[in-house]
Structures are given as structure tokens and as C-alpha cells.
């Protein structure tokens, strides 16, 4: 995948992983892994960037006698997810257009214009 694209998607996936409840580093990695390759060394800069940008907040919670950092999404982070969904709706419609099977029976919403133009040429 294009690196620039992947970078943006990783930010979104991390936000999605903490969308329903605060989560910690290792769990975020396990949750995101099925979709994108991610490791601690990738996650750490992303978490810092999102924290600096105000998309998430960090709380230290005690766990098994040590501190574990939990990351919680902020309204700003939620807005980013909403924007992403909006933007990709458009991308998905382009995807449908690009991958449409040409041999498949013609769709109702397309051919009207194409037929019209051939008629004119004849």
C-alpha cells in the first residue's frame, strides 16, 4: 500500500480501536493487526502525535502492581472518524465504478447516455 495512505489509515485505525472504550498499547496493536501491519515502534509515534493534536488523552491506571497507560478518545478524535467515514464514502463509490465488471449485464443507471450517443452517430 502507498506509504502516505497507510500513514493516514493507521491514525484512523488507532482512533477506531479506542472508539468504544479506553484501551492500552498492546491491546490496540492486537485489535488493529488484522487490518494493517502495526508494531510498537509504529504505534508509539502515532499515539504521541494524536495526543499532541488533542485527539486522545492518556490516563495511567494500576494493573497487576504496575502502571498501564490507557488512551481515551476525545470529541476531536471522534470528529476525525466521522470525517474519515464521509470522505471514504466518496472513495467507495469511485471504487465501485472502477471495479465494475464490464461483461456484467448493463446497469440501469449508466447506459442511457451511451446508447444515446451511438444513436446520434448513426
Amino acid at each position: 500500500m502507498d506509504t502516505q495512505l497507510k500513514r493516514g489509515l493507521l491514525d484512523i485505525c488507532v482512533l477506531a480501536a479506542i472508539k468504544t472504550e479506553p484501551s492500552y498499547g498492546y491491546k490496540i496493536i492486537k485489535d488493529v493487526k488484522p487490518y494493517l501491519t502495526i508494531s510498537e515502534s509504529t504505534l508509539y509515534p502515532i499515539l504521541r502525535r494524536l495526543e499532541d493534536g488533542g485527539s486522545l488523552t492518556v490516563q495511567s491506571v494500576e494493573h497487576n502492581g504496575r502502571l498501564r497507560k490507557y488512551y481515551e478518545i476525545t470529541p476531536l478524535g471522534r470528529n476525525k472518524l466521522i470525517d474519515f467515514a464521509q470522505e471514504w464514502k466518496e472513495v467507495m463509490s469511485i471504487y465501485d465504478y472502477v471495479t465494475r465488471d464490464q461483461n456484467a449485464p448493463a446497469d440501469q443507471n449508466v447506459p442511457a447516455a451511451a446508447e444515446g450517443s451511438t444513436d446520434e452517430q448513426e
Binding site: G25, Y26, S39, E40, S41, P45, R48, R68
Partner: protein, 230 residues
């Protein structure tokens, strides 16, 4: 103490690292950054190790799963803003003693290398500034055309009402033309401005990569020298 760690690291190169060595190596590769940043990084990786070990991995397996300290440190450095990175630089500079004849050469050569260095920097800077100036002036030209067009359109309308006839109509047409041109030009100008922003971002990334590569080279050199001295 620090030196011993480095030596140990050299001896065990390629061998499996334990947890302390792993943390120490990350710390030494981040030397120069603010202590709070370093501590935050180490805390994060400590937590990652603990969580993996809780998940059933052995210490060695957990360390290996996190990747190499070099990778980890480089990614942290890449995310560090450029000014901070530059400030963090001198700490890793090799503390090699400059020999007397080298000082003499540097001082005597100053009339030659000093102006050349300054000139090169100045040329680079002025090229970058010129590019920014061109894009900015294009943006303002388009904006000005649009504003003038709108103003002139109203002006000529008033003229037509006042009875200027053909001249008023001609002015009105010209002003609409100006607005049209401005609207058309807006798209390429916007693309140009975005391109400029992206290019500056890439340039910053390049400079950062160069800095990090130099850091790593320098710290390797100090390691080797300390090995020799030991």
C-alpha cells in the same frame, strides 16, 4: 558505566539482548533529547514488554517481538520536530581532540571555505524563498483580480444606470471577464500552493533523515574508539 554498556553491546552484537540491554540501548540512541521524552519512550516500551510477558511470552521473546532498538529510536527521532532534533545533536558529536595542524588549516583556510559555505547557504535559502514568493504573489494576483472584477462589475452597473451606455457595457463585460479568469485560475493556484506545502514537508523529512543518519554514524564512531581505548 555507560561505556561498559556500550562495550558489552559491541561484544554481543547479533546475540539476543535482555531487557535491560534493550532499554539501555534505546536510551543511548536517544541521547540529547529532553529527559521527559526519553522517559516517556522507555515507559511505553516497558509497558509493552510487561503486557507481552503477561500474555505468555518469555522475556527474550517479548524483547524480540518489539523490534530492534535502532528501529525504535529512529522512528522516535523522525517524529521529533526538526529544531528539537538539531538541539539534540551536539551530545552525540564525537569528542575527538582536534589536532594542532588541523586548527591551523581551518583558520588559514577560513578566507576560502567561509565565504563558500555562506554563499551556498544563501543560494539555497534564496531559492526556497523565491519559490515561496512566486506562489504567494500568484495567489495574491488571482485574489486581486477577483476583487477588482467584482468591484468593477458593480461600478460599471452604476455607470450603465447613470447612462454611460456602450462604455458602461464594455466595462461590465471586462469586469466579468476578470472574475471569470480569477475563478478559473483558482484551481491551478490551489494545487500549486498544496504542492509547495508538501515539498516543504518532504524537505524537512529529508533533513531529519540526514540528521538521524549522522547521529547514528557518530555514536558508532565513539563506540569503536572506546573499544580501541579499552
Amino acid at each position: 558505566m555507560h561505556r561498559q554498556i556500550k562495550m558489552y553491546r559491541q561484544l554481543r552484537k547479533g546475540a539476543q539482548m535482555n531487557r535491560n540491554e534493550f532499554m539501555n540501548e534505546i536510551r543511548s540512541r536517544l541521547t540529547g533529547l529532553p529527559e521527559a521524552d526519553i522517559q516517556k519512550t522507555l515507559d511505553f516500551y516497558n509497558e509493552a514488554l510487561e503486557d507481552r510477558m503477561e500474555d505468555g511470552l518469555s522475556e527474550d521473546q517479548a524483547v524480540e517481538a518489539l523490534g530492534t532498538p535502532a528501529e525504535i529510536a529512529d522512528k522516535v527521532l523522525m517524529e521529533t520536530p526538526l529544531p528539537k532534533l538539531v538541539k539534540a545533536q551536539p551530545a552525540t558529536e564525537p569528542r575527538r581532540k582536534i589536532k594542532a595542524w588541523e586548527i591551523v588549516l581551518i583558520v588559514l583556510g577560513a578566507p576560502v571555505w567561509l565565504p563558500i559555505t555562506i554563499a551556498l547557504f544563501a543560494v539555497g535559502l534564496s531559492l526556497a524563498l523565491a519559490l515561496i514568493a512566486v506562489v504567494l504573489s500568484l495567489i495574491f494576483a488571482v485574489l486581486a483580480t477577483a476583487v477588482c472584477g467584482v468591484a468593477a462589475a458593480f461600478g460599471s452597473l452604476v455607470g450603465i444606470i447613470m447612462g454611460e451606455g456602450t462604455r458602461g457595457l464594455l466595462e461590465f463585460a471586462a469586469s466579468l471577464l476578470a472574475v471569470g479568469i480569477a475563478v478559473l485560475l483558482f484551481i491551478p493556484i490551489k494545487a500549486g500552493a498544496l504542492w509547495l506545502v508538501e515539498m516543504m514537508g518532504r524537505l524537512a523529512t529529508r533533513i531529519k533523515m540526514w540528521f538521524i543518519a549522522r547521529r547514528n554514524r557518530n555514536s558508532q564512531m565513539t563506540d569503536n574508539e572506546e573499544m580501541k581505548n579499552a
